[in-house]
Structure formats: structure tokens, C-alpha cells
């Protein structure tokens, strides 16, 4: 479903790229973990496949169509959903409005459906009472579950997450990873998670390690 072709990226110096000539393929219905030491370029790689930045070299294809052709804004709106370590919710809104806003912007099938949004939140353990409070009054774990609910409420086929469990305790981490597995397997989406934690990576269907400018498949 998502393919990288000879992908390469560098910040300042072309002679010292973070990674080079990357050819990977990600499929729907599967989850994939990306591991690697700090500063190797995992987040940078994710930002490319999330359509937040353009590759310096090579191309990214979604169902054999180049992201350049699709257009990054269009791609972000319809094809990809991003979960960040810092949750990235609208701080001046309730969880419910966060979901409704994202659904409206992305033109999701259930856009405007309040009950659907509440149900999605409820499935992730955010009660109706919590759903109508300001998000800033929720705990970190709760906020990350809202961010995952937002991903679920939107129709994007590709879900990318950058250290989604980085700020969470063990119980919340387990819970969140289970949700990602469900998104991949039950909802038939393509999930790519960047993580530092081997326990988290072990839960995923595939694992890659970014090392020496290359991705190596672990399992």
C-alpha cells in the first residue's frame, strides 16, 4: 500500500544524509514498529511518510501514486492520520470537539455525527462526562487515547505514530498498543509506530531498525 523508492533525506549536508536509498513497503492490516537510537532520523522518516515534509531524494508512493502527485495537504487530509508523543490536541476544545473538528476537516464518513464521536471515545475509555470537558483537564494517558480516537474517527488508511507511549506508564502503554493493534487488524489499516521500547515493538507484526542510514528488518 505505501512504498518508499530510493528515499533519502539530509538536513544541511548532502554528504551526510540521515538515511539513503530506502526501499520499504507497508501493507494494510499490519502494524510495523521502527526502532533505533536517538538522533538516527526516525522522526524525520516518519514526517516524510506523514506528508509533513518532502523527501530530498527518491519518492513515496501510495497505491502506486506519488505523494507529489496527490499533494501533501490533500494526502494529510484524506490518507494519513498522525499520533504524536505530545498528543497534539486542540487545547481549547473538549475531546468531543477535537474529534468533530478532525472529522470535519478530513471530510470523514461520519463527519458531524456527535454520537459516533462519543461512541468512539467511549470505546477508548473516555466517558461522556470526560468527553465534554476541556482536554487540558485530562491525564496524559487519557489525552493520548483521545488522539487515538481521533485517528479512529477519521477514515485515513495510514496511521503513523511517533513514540505514542513515550509519556505513558506501563498500563497505559499496554492499553494504547492494544488499540493500535486493533486499528491494524480489525479496521484493516496500515499502522507505523516509531518507538524506543522493545516491548512495544514486540507487539507489532513487523520491526525495523534504523541504523547506519539503512533500515534493517528484525522480524
Amino acid at each position: 500500500m505505501l512504498k518508499t523508492q530510493g528515499l533519502g533525506y539530509w538536513y544541511q549536508d548532502k554528504d551526510q544524509p540521515l538515511f539513503q536509498d530506502i526501499n520499504l513497503e507497508f501493507e494494510v492490516g499490519q502494524s510495523c514498529a521502527i526502532l533505533g537510537h536517538s538522533g538516527t532520523g526516525k522522526t524525520t522518516f516518519l514526517s516524510l511518510i506523514a506528508g509533513l515534509d518532502k523527501p530530498k531524494e527518491g519518492d513515496i508512493l501510495l497505491d502506486d501514486r506519488s505523494l507529489k502527485k496527490i499533494g501533501l495537504t490533500n494526502y494529510r487530509r484524506h490518507d494519513v492520520s498522525i499520533v504524536f508523543q505530545a498528543y497534539n490536541l486542540f487545547t481549547y476544545m473538549s475531546p468531543l470537539n477535537n474529534l468533530l473538528t478532525a472529522m470535519a476537516i478530513t471530510g470523514a464518513e461520519h463527519a458531524g455525527d456527535k454520537d459516533f464521536a462519543l461512541k468512539t471515545l467511549n470505546d477508548l475509555g473516555i466517558s461522556a462526562d470526560l468527553a465534554t470537558r476541556n482536554v487540558q483537564h485530562l491525564s496524559g494517558g487519557q489525552q493520548q487515547r483521545v488522539a487515538i480516537a481521533r485517528t479512529m474517527a477519521c477514515d485515513a488508511q495510514l496511521v503513523v505514530a511517533d513514540e505514542p507511549t513515550g509519556n505513558l506508564d506501563e498500563d497505559n502503554t499496554k492499553e494504547v498498543i492494544e488499540q493500535f493493534q486493533r486499528i491494524a487488524h480489525d479496521r484493516q489499516k496500515c499502522v507505523i509506530i516509531v518507538t524506543h521500547e522493545p516491548d512495544v515493538a514486540d507487539q507489532c507484526d513487523h520491526q525495523y531498525r534504523l541504523e547506519n542510514k539503512q533500515f534493517t528488518k528484525l522480524a
Binding site: 504524536f84 490536541l89 476544545m93 473538528t101
Partner: protein, 486 residues
Amino acid sequence: MNFFKRAWLNVWAKKGRSVLLILVSSAILMFVLAGLLIRSAAVKATDQAKADVGATVTLSANRQAAFKKMQSSSSSSSKSSRPKMTLTPVKLSDATKIAKLSNISSYNVTSSTSVNAKSYDTVSTSSGLSGGNSGGPGGMKSSTSTGDTQIDGVTSTSLATDFSSKQSKITKGRGITTADKNTNHVVIEKDLASQNNLTVGDTITVKEATGSKDKVKLKIVGIYKASSTSSSSAGPMSTDPANTMYTSYTLANTFKGSKYAGTADSVTFNVSNPAKVSSVKTAGKKLINTSKYALSTDDSSYQTVKASMSNVKSFANKIVWLVAIAGTIILALIVILMIRERRFEIGVLLSLGEARWKIVAQFFTEMLMVIVVAVAIAGAGGKFVGNQLGSQLVSQSATTTQTTSTTGQPGGSGTPGGSGMKGGNGGPGNMGQSTNTKAAKTELDVSVSAVNLAELGGFGLAITFLSIMIASGGILRLEPKKVLIS
């Protein structure tokens, strides 16, 4: 229209910030409104001055030419007898020609003389100059008359200056109208009527002061009340104002003598559009013999008010634009700071694939909500600021007018016979004086109208739009990756 909902959620969630923005915007808009109010008040005052002063063109004898003629004849004649200034009465045929010019709404023929009381007693003034001669030596009247009753012949009393300026009022019966032409109808003063037990419908008898000295019966059709200060066109030596009667100008001409038929002392034309006065004057001059007659205008007080109001107006304009520009800059800076503070939120929106213009639209909507409330607040407060500023400005402009009018006035009426209307030697100083009081009295009526509010709304909208446009560069350039991945 999701951005609209987001804007509302944001404004509502961040009430403190919204209130501060409303206060800043209100302050800016209040000054804009004050400027707008002063400007429209100045326009109103100028229009009012136009309406009050009206604009008239007067056809009268060419006093200056006559004076010159008198001087040359006095120098040539060795006799010690006092030279006589002869003024040619205005021909009514000339007047009808001028009246046909465009922009002339109406005209009033004035012909004054005096007669002697026969069947009644004149009102005597306390100064003891009772029933004596009126119209001092070298008075304004073209005919030398010596009667004790002043006869003011007019086309219609409503067009006569004393009545149109509301100094005199009809209290009983009616005034003289065009229908009274060639009749012996008369309007007398209230004091004279009560002293002689006269009322509407009564007949009085007068004796001509010149010519045939015939006795003439006059029928009273109306009684008027003259204000104490109102003195008819006669000079300071005149009799009590109560002894002035109004008749049709035809009757006054009859009293003067047969050679005065079809003439007048002066004819005053009312010009419907004050701006057209000078063009009417130019056109009228082509129709008359300018060596004998003069066409003069009296819009000096209008000009003075106009000048002082245009000062106020240009100052108000400057306030409006200065405040609007400064306000735009201030708001733009605030919005720029706000956008910087909300980079993260913008990044999230961009990561969701929101179009940049919709993010700009969200900020614009938020500011618009603030501005709508600010317009309402400024509308309530602007009147106060406008009143304060307005009275300040008027007193200031009145002083500037004073200096300009005393120096500028004589030049203004430099055309021959220009100031002839109110009797030759009125003097520039005098004129300056009277116009000053008028200008100083011009009060600015500062009130908030729907038009003002609409204008204010327009300015608010423009300021909001411009400041968002200036600040939106930050949104348009923002890269979501830089914000979201730090």
C-alpha cells in the same frame, strides 16, 4: 464552515484574551468614531449654515458708481451747495429677466419710502425723537422722504429679511403676498395697532410725504410683531420700529411718485443652491447695465462657517485616518503575537490537512467577533469622546476664523458694489465682527447615526482584514513539521 465553529470555540474558551482584544479594539474604534462624528457634524453644520444663511443675490443701484459721479460733479461745481448723490432705482424689467435664470427659487422686490400719519398716532420712542423725520441725512433710501411712518414695500412679507430671519412675526391676519400687488393692503405693527385700537379689517388714512401729498386710505390685512432689536433698513436715526408698515411694493412706488412705477430700491433673489451663487451673479450681470446697477451677493457668513468647518472636517479626516492606520498596525502586531503563540495549534490543523486559507479565515472570524462587540462599545462611548473633541475644535476654529475674517473679508468682497447690500459704509471691520459671532455660535451636533455606525463597522472590518492579512504571512509560511516535531 468548520473554521467558524473553531473560531467561536476559541473566542469562548479564551474569554480573558477575548475581553482584552475587545478593549483594545474598542479604544481604537472609539477614536475612529470620534473622528467620523466630528466630520459628519462639520458637514451638518456647513449644511445648516447654508440653510440658515441661504444665499441671495441682490440687485440694487450701483452705489460706488453713483458716489464717484457725485464726487466728480462736486469738484467741477464751484458752488458750496452739498452735492447730491443720485441713485437710479432698479428697473423691475431687469429683475424679471434675472429671475428667469436657473437656480433662482424666488425673489423679493423692496421699495421703501415714508408717509405721514393722518388717522392715527405714531408710536413715539422714549428717546423723544417722536414722529419726527425718519431716515437721516444721506440715508439709505433712494427717495428722500420725511414722513413719520416708514413704508416697506415688498413682494411678500415672508420673503422679507426681517420675517425670513424670524425677527418679525405675523400675529394676526396675514402678511403681504403677491396677491396684494396693486392694492392698498397694509400690515402694521402690534404696538401701533393697540395704541390706536386698530385691528385687521380697519382702514387708516395716511398723507403722502412727497409729490402730490394726497390722502390715501389703507386697509389693514395683518398685524405683525417686531422684535425689539429689529430695526428696518433705516439708519440709526430712524423712528420707533413700530411705525414701520409693510405694503406691496407697488403701493410704496405710488407714494414715491409716478416716475417710480415699475422700479424698486432693490430686488433680492434667493438662490436655491448656495454653490451656484457666483455663477448666478455672473449670468445676471450680463443682463443689466452695470454702470448704473450692481448685483451683489451676501454669503459671507456662509463662507466663514464653511471655512471654519472645513478646517474641522480636515482635522477630523486626519484623526480618522491616523487612528485607522495606527489601529491597524496595533491590531496587526497583536495578531502576529497571537499567531506565534498559536503555532502549535496551526501545526495540528495543518497536520490534519486543513487548508491554509481556512486557518486564516478562522483568525479573521475570531477578530470579527471581537470587532462586532468593539463596534457596539465604541458606538456607546464614541459620542462622549466626539463631544469633548468637537467642542474643543469649534472653540479653536472660531479663534482662527476671527483672525482670518478680519483680514480676509475685505478682499473677499472686492467686486464693485460687493458690500453694497447693507448700505455702503458698513465697513469691513463691522462685517468681520458679525460673522465671527456666527462662526463661534456654530455648535457641532455630535450624535451617533446609523450611517456613522455603518461607517465605523466598515472601518472595523477594514482594520481587521488588513491586520489579519499582514499577520497571515506567519500562517502561510509555517511548516507543520517544525512546529510539531521539536
